[in-house]
């Protein structure tokens, strides 16, 4: 349980006996600046009409931002490997669920359209 802590205890004025890795405040500020720049980029991309690429771009930038937050703010770079696996595993399941259900709903969507056409009348509360 106590392995892998000796590696990082030599810098940043860390107090002796501290558990875990202390982030220097300069790093934290740099991370925030990066995130703000990425926010500006994603807003800027959205102003241009790129068709389908807009979605890809938005999700891509969001993924980069999320990675930055997890790696530095959430200390995942310095954390136990297993915590990283939990995150990756959860994301994989999220992707699988979204992907497969989207795939299926798009395949049966024509049935829904038929149903709506048959009913004709728009929905009323």
């Amino acid at each position: 349980m106590s392995e892998a802590h000796a590696a990082h205890d030599d810098h940043h004025g860390q107090l002796p006996g501290t558990i875990g890795h202390v982030s220097p405040w300069q790093t934290l500020v740099k991370v925030l600046v990066t995130l703000l720049i990425l926010t500006v980029i994603t807003v800027a991309i959205a102003q241009v009409d790129l068709g389908r690429l807009n979605v890809v771009g938005a999700i891509g930038v969001a993924c980069v931002k999320a990675s930055v937050v997890t790696l530095w703010f959430m200390h995942l770079r310095y954390d136990k490997r297993f915590n990283f696996f939990i995150l990756i595993g959860s994301f994989a399941l999220v992707a699988w669920m979204i992907g497969y259900i989207l795939f299926d709903t798009m395949l049966y969507q024509h049935n829904v359209q038929d149903y709506k056409r048959d009913r004709q009348a728009p929905a009323t509360p």
């Binding site: 875990g20 202390v22 934290l28 969001a62 136990k80 959860s90 979204i98 969507q109 728009p122 509360p125």
Partner: protein, 244 residues
């Protein structure tokens, strides 16, 4: 941790003294700290899958109703969304900084960063309140309840599609978009409120001087939770406000 249980301490001849914060079933502070942290990470994995249902609903409706989503996204104010993004990112910085302060035993810095995180969260909720109030006011709500007058449509939407009316949007099923919008941002907002509660709790504990370099798990774990709330917003913002 388990006060009360810790009183029944058994003999530990090899250790000079067990720290008072160490629960009876752990061997050392490292084990205790990393147990709590692993528990938190599993909880965060759970959180991702909890939100996953909403993201799936979003993907399904967006995938099958591109046009409707395009019109609907004009209802959301990009400026307010961007402002909220910045507020949350700053709060993430202060949250991460509070962990640093706790580890360095900087009590004043800890109190300041915890308070700043709370204030940012509050600011987020205030902006959210104005957004919600406006939508409810013009009738941009979920399901069949959607009843926006043509005059109340967003100017950008009318500028681009002058022939658009509230009735047309309603028939298009724009209510589904707002169902998803309110569920996603509402659930996220609930998480922000819970986070605010947790930061009050941390602030009180920090005032009492509970935390030190080997016993700051609560600050760390709440910060992890807060970062996940931030990450979810990082995805919500472009998906709802930006892409049309």
């Amino acid at each position: 941790m388990s006060t009360g249980v810790a009183d029944h301490e058994t003999k530990h001849d090899t250790l000079p003294a067990r720290p008072p914060e160490l629960a009876m079933h752990f061997d050392n502070m490292h084990q205790q700290f990393h147990s709590g942290k692993l528990g938190m990470w599993l909880f965060l994995g759970q959180e991702l899958l909890f939100f996953c249902g909403l993201f799936t609903a979003y993907a399904v409706y967006r995938g099958n109703h591109q046009e409707m989503f395009h019109y609907a996204h004009y209802f959301l104010d990009t400026k307010m969304g961007a402002a909220n993004t910045v507020v949350l990112l700053v709060s993430s910085l202060t949250a991460a900084w509070s962990v640093r302060c706790a580890m360095l035993e900087q009590r004043k810095g800890l109190l300041i960063t915890l308070a700043l995180t709370f204030i940012c969260a509050g600011a987020f909720m205030v902006v959210k309140y104005f957004e919600y109030a406006h939508k409810l006011h013009i009738g941009a709500v979920w399901g069949g309840g959607f009843h926006v007058q043509t005059a109340d449509l967003p100017p950008e939407l009318l500028a681009k599609y002058p022939e658009m009316t509230g009735e047309k949007l309603k028939d298009m099923g724009v209510g589904s978009f707002f169902a998803i919008y309110f569920c996603m941002t509402g659930l996220h907002g609930l998480h922000v409120l819970v986070g605010m509660g947790l930061y009050i709790w941390l602030f009180i504990r920090a005032l009492k001087g509970h935390f030190n370099r080997r016993w700051y798990g609560a600050v760390d774990n709440v910060a992890l939770y807060w970062h996940i709330v931030d990450i979810i917003w990082i995805f919500l913002f472009p998906l709802l406000y930006l892409i049309g």
